[in-house]
Protein backbone atom coordinates (compact mmCIF):
# COMPACT_ATOMS: atom_id res chain seq x y z
CA UNK A 1 0.00 0.00 0.00
CA UNK A 2 1.24 3.48 -0.76
CA UNK A 3 2.13 5.74 2.15
CA UNK A 4 -0.47 7.88 3.86
CA UNK A 5 0.66 11.52 3.76
CA UNK A 6 0.02 13.45 6.97
CA UNK A 7 0.32 17.23 6.85
CA UNK A 8 0.22 19.52 9.87
CA UNK A 9 -0.30 23.26 9.49
CA UNK A 10 0.67 25.16 12.63
CA UNK A 11 -0.90 28.62 12.74
CA UNK A 12 0.39 30.31 15.87
CA UNK A 13 2.23 33.61 15.39
CA UNK A 14 4.72 32.20 17.92
CA UNK A 15 5.71 29.50 15.44
CA UNK A 16 7.90 26.74 16.84
CA UNK A 17 7.86 28.38 20.30
CA UNK A 18 4.11 27.96 20.60
CA UNK A 19 2.33 25.38 22.72
CA UNK A 20 0.17 24.42 19.74
CA UNK A 21 3.26 23.62 17.65
CA UNK A 22 4.81 21.75 20.59
CA UNK A 23 1.82 19.42 20.89
CA UNK A 24 1.48 18.96 17.12
CA UNK A 25 5.16 18.02 16.83
CA UNK A 26 4.92 15.71 19.85
CA UNK A 27 1.85 13.98 18.42
CA UNK A 28 3.36 13.60 14.94
CA UNK A 29 6.62 12.26 16.36
CA UNK A 30 4.66 9.67 18.37
CA UNK A 31 3.14 8.13 15.24
CA UNK A 32 5.28 5.17 14.25
CA UNK A 33 3.26 3.77 11.35
CA UNK A 34 5.67 2.47 8.73
CA UNK A 35 3.38 3.50 5.90
CA UNK A 36 3.14 7.13 6.96
CA UNK A 37 4.97 10.25 5.79
CA UNK A 38 4.75 13.36 7.96
CA UNK A 39 5.30 17.07 7.43
CA UNK A 40 4.51 20.18 9.46
CA UNK A 41 4.20 23.59 7.79
CA UNK A 42 4.80 26.43 10.26
CA UNK A 43 2.64 29.19 8.82
CA UNK A 44 4.41 32.00 10.66
CA UNK A 45 7.59 31.17 8.70
CA UNK A 46 5.86 31.79 5.36
CA UNK A 47 5.20 35.04 3.54
CA UNK A 48 1.43 34.89 3.32
CA UNK A 49 -0.41 37.82 1.80
CA UNK A 50 -3.91 38.44 3.16
CA UNK A 51 -6.89 37.56 1.01
CA UNK A 52 -7.98 40.48 -1.19
CA UNK A 53 -11.59 39.26 -1.14
CA UNK A 54 -11.88 38.96 -4.92
CA UNK A 55 -14.91 36.78 -4.17
CA UNK A 56 -16.80 39.86 -3.00
CA UNK A 57 -16.20 41.65 -6.32
CA UNK A 58 -17.43 38.69 -8.31
CA UNK A 59 -17.54 35.08 -7.11
CA UNK A 60 -16.10 34.02 -10.48
CA UNK A 61 -12.99 36.10 -9.74
CA UNK A 62 -12.03 33.76 -6.88
CA UNK A 63 -10.23 30.91 -8.63
CA UNK A 64 -7.72 28.19 -7.91
CA UNK A 65 -4.81 28.84 -8.11
CA UNK A 66 -5.63 32.03 -6.21
CA UNK A 67 -5.00 35.21 -8.21
CA UNK A 68 -2.64 36.50 -5.51
CA UNK A 69 -0.56 33.35 -5.85
CA UNK A 70 -0.53 33.72 -9.62
CA UNK A 71 0.43 37.41 -9.49
CA UNK A 72 2.89 37.58 -6.60
CA UNK A 73 5.93 35.31 -6.79
CA UNK A 74 6.82 36.20 -3.19
CA UNK A 75 3.51 34.92 -1.81
CA UNK A 76 4.10 31.50 -0.24
CA UNK A 77 0.49 30.38 0.11
CA UNK A 78 1.23 27.98 -2.74
CA UNK A 79 3.12 25.81 -0.21
CA UNK A 80 -0.10 25.42 1.78
CA UNK A 81 -2.28 24.83 -1.31
CA UNK A 82 0.15 22.25 -2.68
CA UNK A 83 0.64 20.69 0.75
CA UNK A 84 -3.08 20.16 1.25
CA UNK A 85 -3.67 18.86 -2.27
CA UNK A 86 -0.74 16.45 -1.95
CA UNK A 87 -1.82 15.03 1.43
CA UNK A 88 -4.27 12.41 2.67
CA UNK A 89 -4.65 13.82 6.18
CA UNK A 90 -4.50 17.52 7.04
CA UNK A 91 -4.42 18.65 10.67
CA UNK A 92 -4.48 22.34 11.58
CA UNK A 93 -3.29 23.60 14.95
CA UNK A 94 -4.35 26.95 16.34
CA UNK A 95 -4.19 28.88 19.59
CA UNK A 96 -7.31 30.59 20.93
CA UNK A 97 -7.38 34.37 21.22
CA UNK A 98 -10.49 35.96 22.69
CA UNK A 99 -12.58 32.93 21.85
CA UNK A 100 -11.46 32.61 18.25
CA UNK A 101 -8.74 30.91 16.23
CA UNK A 102 -5.50 32.74 15.43
CA UNK A 103 -5.19 35.57 12.93
CA UNK A 104 -2.89 33.38 10.84
CA UNK A 105 -5.52 30.63 10.81
CA UNK A 106 -8.10 33.18 9.68
CA UNK A 107 -5.78 34.44 6.93
CA UNK A 108 -5.33 30.86 5.74
CA UNK A 109 -9.08 30.16 5.87
CA UNK A 110 -9.77 33.24 3.74
CA UNK A 111 -7.08 32.27 1.23
CA UNK A 112 -8.41 28.69 1.14
CA UNK A 113 -11.72 30.09 -0.03
CA UNK A 114 -10.39 29.57 -3.56
CA UNK A 115 -10.42 25.80 -2.95
CA UNK A 116 -13.98 25.90 -1.59
CA UNK A 117 -15.06 28.25 -4.36
CA UNK A 118 -13.75 25.86 -7.00
CA UNK A 119 -16.62 23.56 -6.08
CA UNK A 120 -19.39 25.95 -5.10
CA UNK A 121 -18.95 28.36 -8.04
CA UNK A 122 -16.75 26.76 -10.68
CA UNK A 123 -18.06 23.22 -10.13
CA UNK A 124 -14.59 21.72 -9.95
CA UNK A 125 -13.93 19.37 -7.04
CA UNK A 126 -10.35 20.26 -6.09
CA UNK A 127 -10.29 18.97 -2.50
CA UNK A 128 -11.54 15.40 -2.24
CA UNK A 129 -10.83 12.22 -0.30
CA UNK A 130 -8.83 13.98 2.41
CA UNK A 131 -9.23 13.58 6.15
CA UNK A 132 -9.19 16.57 8.49
CA UNK A 133 -8.34 17.16 12.13
CA UNK A 134 -7.87 20.07 14.52
CA UNK A 135 -5.57 20.80 17.46
CA UNK A 136 -6.74 23.72 19.59
CA UNK A 137 -4.84 25.28 22.48
CA UNK A 138 -5.85 28.14 24.73
CA UNK A 139 -5.28 29.60 28.14
CA UNK A 140 -8.91 30.16 29.08
CA UNK A 141 -11.81 28.79 27.07
CA UNK A 142 -13.46 28.79 23.66
CA UNK A 143 -12.26 25.60 22.03
CA UNK A 144 -15.72 24.33 21.06
CA UNK A 145 -16.45 27.62 19.33
CA UNK A 146 -13.13 27.43 17.45
CA UNK A 147 -13.71 23.79 16.49
CA UNK A 148 -17.21 24.52 15.24
CA UNK A 149 -16.18 27.50 13.16
CA UNK A 150 -13.22 25.79 11.56
CA UNK A 151 -15.00 22.48 10.90
CA UNK A 152 -17.79 24.44 9.23
CA UNK A 153 -15.37 25.95 6.73
CA UNK A 154 -13.14 22.92 6.28
CA UNK A 155 -16.01 20.57 5.44
CA UNK A 156 -17.24 23.13 2.91
CA UNK A 157 -13.72 23.10 1.48
CA UNK A 158 -13.95 19.33 1.14
CA UNK A 159 -12.20 17.73 4.11
CA UNK A 160 -13.78 14.65 5.71
CA UNK A 161 -13.78 14.56 9.51
CA UNK A 162 -13.61 11.35 11.55
CA UNK A 163 -15.46 11.04 14.88
CA UNK A 164 -13.91 13.17 17.64
CA UNK A 165 -11.98 15.18 15.07
CA UNK A 166 -10.36 17.70 17.37
CA UNK A 167 -8.06 17.68 20.37
CA UNK A 168 -8.12 20.65 22.70
CA UNK A 169 -6.60 21.91 25.90
CA UNK A 170 -7.08 25.14 27.82
CA UNK A 171 -5.26 26.47 30.87
CA UNK A 172 -6.39 27.68 34.23
CA UNK A 173 -8.15 30.89 33.19
CA UNK A 174 -5.81 33.09 35.18
CA UNK A 175 -3.10 35.50 33.97
CA UNK A 176 -0.24 33.12 34.65
CA UNK A 177 0.31 31.91 31.09
CA UNK A 178 3.91 30.98 31.74
CA UNK A 179 2.78 27.88 33.62
CA UNK A 180 0.97 26.48 30.57
CA UNK A 181 4.00 24.87 28.92
CA UNK A 182 4.96 23.19 32.17
CA UNK A 183 1.44 21.84 32.57
CA UNK A 184 1.47 20.54 29.01
CA UNK A 185 4.92 18.99 29.24
CA UNK A 186 4.02 17.22 32.47
CA UNK A 187 0.48 16.33 31.50
CA UNK A 188 0.46 12.71 30.42
CA UNK A 189 -3.24 12.79 29.55
CA UNK A 190 -2.87 16.04 27.58
CA UNK A 191 -0.20 14.45 25.41
CA UNK A 192 -2.28 11.32 24.97
CA UNK A 193 -5.26 13.36 23.77
CA UNK A 194 -3.22 15.03 21.01
CA UNK A 195 -1.43 11.84 19.99
CA UNK A 196 -4.81 10.08 19.89
CA UNK A 197 -6.22 12.79 17.61
CA UNK A 198 -3.39 12.38 15.11
CA UNK A 199 -3.45 8.58 15.29
CA UNK A 200 -7.24 8.49 14.93
CA UNK A 201 -7.08 10.70 11.82
CA UNK A 202 -4.43 8.45 10.26
CA UNK A 203 -6.32 5.27 11.20
CA UNK A 204 -9.50 6.72 9.71
CA UNK A 205 -7.62 7.63 6.52
CA UNK A 206 -6.35 4.07 6.21
CA UNK A 207 -9.85 2.68 6.78
CA UNK A 208 -11.69 5.07 4.49
CA UNK A 209 -9.27 6.04 1.73
CA UNK A 210 -8.05 2.59 0.71
CA UNK A 211 -10.23 -0.50 0.32
CA UNK A 212 -8.57 -3.20 2.40
CA UNK A 213 -10.05 -5.99 0.24
CA UNK A 214 -9.52 -4.59 -3.24
CA UNK A 215 -6.68 -2.07 -2.75
CA UNK A 216 -8.61 0.58 -4.66
CA UNK A 217 -8.19 4.15 -3.48
CA UNK A 218 -11.36 6.06 -2.67
CA UNK A 219 -12.32 8.40 -5.49
CA UNK A 220 -15.50 10.00 -4.23
CA UNK A 221 -16.41 13.33 -5.75
CA UNK A 222 -19.26 15.51 -4.54
CA UNK A 223 -20.28 18.49 -6.63
CA UNK A 224 -22.13 20.97 -4.49
CA UNK A 225 -25.76 21.59 -5.36
CA UNK A 226 -26.41 24.13 -2.70
CA UNK A 227 -29.47 26.30 -3.07
CA UNK A 228 -27.37 29.44 -3.10
CA UNK A 229 -25.61 28.31 -6.24
CA UNK A 230 -25.29 31.10 -8.76
CA UNK A 231 -26.64 29.91 -12.07
CA UNK A 232 -24.54 31.76 -14.58
CA UNK A 233 -26.50 30.25 -17.43
CA UNK A 234 -29.52 32.33 -16.49
CA UNK A 235 -27.77 35.28 -14.87
CA UNK A 236 -28.73 38.63 -16.36
Amino acid sequence: MRKIKLLGISTSARGRESNSYYLMKLAFDALKDADLSKEIIVASELNLRPCQHHYSVNAKMCVHPCLITQLDKDDEMRKIYDGILDSDVVIFSTPIYWGNHSQLMQLIVERLNSLENANSVHRQVVVKNKIGGLMILGHEDGYQNVAGGLMNFLTEMGLIFPPQAYAAWVGESDENTKLDRNRIENGKVIKEIFIDLAQNAVNFAKAVLVCSNCGQKLDYEHKSKKKNYIDYETEK
Binding site: Q52, H54, V57, N58, K60, M61, V63, L67, Q70, L71, D72, H122, Y232
Partner: protein, 74 residues
Protein backbone atom coordinates in the same frame (compact mmCIF):
# COMPACT_ATOMS: atom_id res chain seq x y z
CA UNK B 1 -12.47 30.21 -24.06
CA UNK B 2 -10.93 33.50 -25.18
CA UNK B 3 -13.33 36.23 -26.29
CA UNK B 4 -13.17 37.28 -29.92
CA UNK B 5 -10.45 39.81 -30.72
CA UNK B 6 -12.88 42.10 -32.51
CA UNK B 7 -13.50 45.82 -32.91
CA UNK B 8 -16.82 45.34 -31.13
CA UNK B 9 -15.16 43.85 -28.06
CA UNK B 10 -12.42 46.49 -28.24
CA UNK B 11 -15.14 49.11 -27.93
CA UNK B 12 -16.92 47.36 -25.06
CA UNK B 13 -13.73 46.67 -23.06
CA UNK B 14 -13.45 48.34 -19.62
CA UNK B 15 -9.63 48.32 -19.48
CA UNK B 16 -9.14 52.06 -20.05
CA UNK B 17 -11.09 52.79 -16.85
CA UNK B 18 -9.22 50.17 -14.81
CA UNK B 19 -6.97 51.27 -11.90
CA UNK B 20 -4.17 49.13 -13.36
CA UNK B 21 -4.28 50.89 -16.74
CA UNK B 22 -1.32 53.23 -17.35
CA UNK B 23 -0.11 55.66 -19.95
CA UNK B 24 2.17 52.90 -21.19
CA UNK B 25 -0.90 50.78 -22.01
CA UNK B 26 -2.54 53.77 -23.63
CA UNK B 27 0.52 54.57 -25.78
CA UNK B 28 0.67 50.98 -26.99
CA UNK B 29 -3.09 50.92 -27.60
CA UNK B 30 -3.35 47.86 -25.39
CA UNK B 31 -6.89 46.67 -24.47
CA UNK B 32 -9.01 43.51 -24.33
CA UNK B 33 -6.16 41.51 -22.85
CA UNK B 34 -8.61 38.63 -22.34
CA UNK B 35 -8.92 38.32 -26.11
CA UNK B 36 -5.28 38.97 -26.90
CA UNK B 37 -2.34 38.44 -24.57
CA UNK B 38 -0.76 39.96 -21.48
CA UNK B 39 0.58 43.51 -21.40
CA UNK B 40 4.09 44.55 -22.35
CA UNK B 41 3.93 47.31 -19.72
CA UNK B 42 4.75 47.21 -16.02
CA UNK B 43 1.42 47.07 -14.19
CA UNK B 44 0.52 46.98 -10.50
CA UNK B 45 -1.19 43.70 -9.68
CA UNK B 46 -2.00 44.92 -6.16
CA UNK B 47 -4.58 47.30 -7.59
CA UNK B 48 -8.10 46.03 -8.11
CA UNK B 49 -8.84 44.55 -11.52
CA UNK B 50 -11.99 45.89 -13.17
CA UNK B 51 -12.72 42.97 -15.51
CA UNK B 52 -15.07 41.00 -13.18
CA UNK B 53 -16.73 44.16 -11.87
CA UNK B 54 -19.03 44.60 -14.85
CA UNK B 55 -17.04 44.51 -18.10
CA UNK B 56 -19.43 43.33 -20.85
CA UNK B 57 -16.70 41.27 -22.51
CA UNK B 58 -16.18 39.37 -19.23
CA UNK B 59 -19.89 38.80 -18.67
CA UNK B 60 -20.86 37.91 -22.23
CA UNK B 61 -18.06 35.38 -22.52
CA UNK B 62 -18.72 33.91 -19.03
CA UNK B 63 -15.10 34.36 -18.02
CA UNK B 64 -13.56 33.37 -14.67
CA UNK B 65 -10.55 34.84 -12.88
CA UNK B 66 -9.18 38.32 -13.60
CA UNK B 67 -5.99 40.30 -14.30
CA UNK B 68 -5.80 39.17 -17.91
CA UNK B 69 -3.29 41.97 -18.52
CA UNK B 70 -0.92 40.06 -16.21
CA UNK B 71 -2.18 36.45 -16.34
CA UNK B 72 -2.84 35.07 -19.80
CA UNK B 73 -6.31 33.65 -20.32
CA UNK B 74 -5.93 30.17 -21.75
Amino acid sequence: MKPKNSAENFGKCFCIDCPLYTNCNKNKAERIFCARTTSECVMDGKKSCLCPAGCPVYLENKLSGAYFCLIELK
